[in-house]
Symmetry: C2
Subunit: 246 residues, 2 copies
């Protein structure tokens, strides 16, 4: 079968990793090169113009704007994208957040000849999803698994026990050569693989008890953007709420 | 044949795009997954620790540290990498710059079962090289061609006429699905293709005369890092010169 192993500018797909340098967020554009059906994962509101332009320049038909979770560090671009691309539907797992489609573990989203499997990976937040593209051997892990790291577990119903089980049960169980694309990286790395993280992740290679202690001892500062980002993201980042929350 | 089309986490290669958020520079790590022989393109001095660690974590044997040109906006990491990885050789085209290997148009650099073709693409600087990985349908364009843009041509023997000819003759002549990886991007884009730039590049799709006028009218400010970066890069970014130049 064809995996990420066969990819990026692969003739049958369009794949682009995009970066927001302010919040250090990665956005991903995935498309069927033949049918032009596309999805975008974790768009950032400040980058909507760039992203919509890329979609239009490539002649893509954007079906879904997916969020891996309700972000605390930036406002989602899904609401703004929907305004500019009528027909595009917003997708999230969190039932409290407004969106066109609420997905749950095991759901599949189709675009052209491809599909994404939704895997529930709670721990950073309760509603965190990892999107797995089995056909290309790629997974989009949101803040569950980062490159040599993981998302914090000290707010938004975070749970280090749940995060550990999510990563080991739902991500490390994928084939070792699966390419992993996180929602963030702060050191200029862009991707990793299951095999690499199983060997090199300084937190998640530890026994569960040690991991829980590591996470407890982090003592991270209160996230700067959270009071603005959370309420906005609960309503898909639509503009009036954004303005009200600033 | 196998192209970039079959890539990234492809079983027979290791490929990583790395980013320096201060100078907006991309560094690329390419390796033969079987023999572990590797090369790095345009390393940045501030990121040497990260890059060397990645090389070591992946168990790679770094043969060459290549520079696409004598950069004006950051100091190359090649000198520092050589200190930490004995046996790694620095590579550049510019005959005035010190390096272990001075390449010229048409040269090929081998790593494992793979090789890179060096194509002279002057215009941003006289010694600019584009490194083409034909086997994987990838090319590393340095500052000759950027995503929807190009490098400036107003210093370091820059020439907009030469740049135009370089891009059209040496880059746009590659197959349309060739994936292009620039030395910089300032908007969070990470790659493009020959086909895309031939259609969408706002400067290089124009006739040569218009391109020359566009470049002439840019009136860019004097580059902030140039007085520090140029002398350091002429000697491979070695530390004592860096300190002297600051
Ligand atoms: Fe988050
Ligand atoms: Fe440059």
């Amino acid at each position: 079968y064809a995996r990420y192993l066969t990819t990026m500018a692969h003739k049958d797909i369009v794949f682009r990793q995009l970066f927001d340098g302010t919040s250090f967020t990665f956005t991903y554009l995935l498309a069927d090169a033949k049918t032009k059906d596309a999805i975008i994962i974790d768009p950032v509101i400040e980058q909507v113009e760039r992203d919509v332009r890329l979609v239009q320049d490539m002649g893509l038909n954007l079906l879904y704007a997916l969020n891996t979770h309700v972000h605390a560090d930036h406002i989602t671009g899904s609401g703004e994208i929907k305004k500019r691309i009528p027909g595009c539907r917003s997708v999230i797992a969190e039932p409290q957040a407004s969106a066109d489609i609420h997905i749950k573990h095991g759901d599949r989203l189709k675009f052209g000849q491809f599909e994404i499997e939704c895997r529930s990976t709670p721990g950073h937040t309760n509603g965190c999803m990892t999107y797995v593209w089995h056909q290309k051997g790629m997974a989009f892990t949101g803040d569950a698994l980062l490159i040599r790291g993981c998302g914090r577990t000290d707010f938004q119903q975070g749970s280090s026990e749940a995060l550990y089980d999510s990563v080991h049960g739902q991500i490390f169980s994928l084939p070792e050569d699966t390419a992993l694309f996180p929602a963030h990286d702060y050191k200029g790395m862009t991707m990793t693989t299951v095999g690499e993280e199983k060997m090199l992740n300084p937190r998640l290679t530890k026994p569960k008890m040690d991991f829980v202690k590591i996470m407890k001892d982090l003592n991270l500062p209160y996230p700067k953007q959270i009071d603005k980002a959370l309420p906005a993201n609960m309503v898909c980042g639509v503009y009036d709420i954004k303005a009200a929350a600033i």
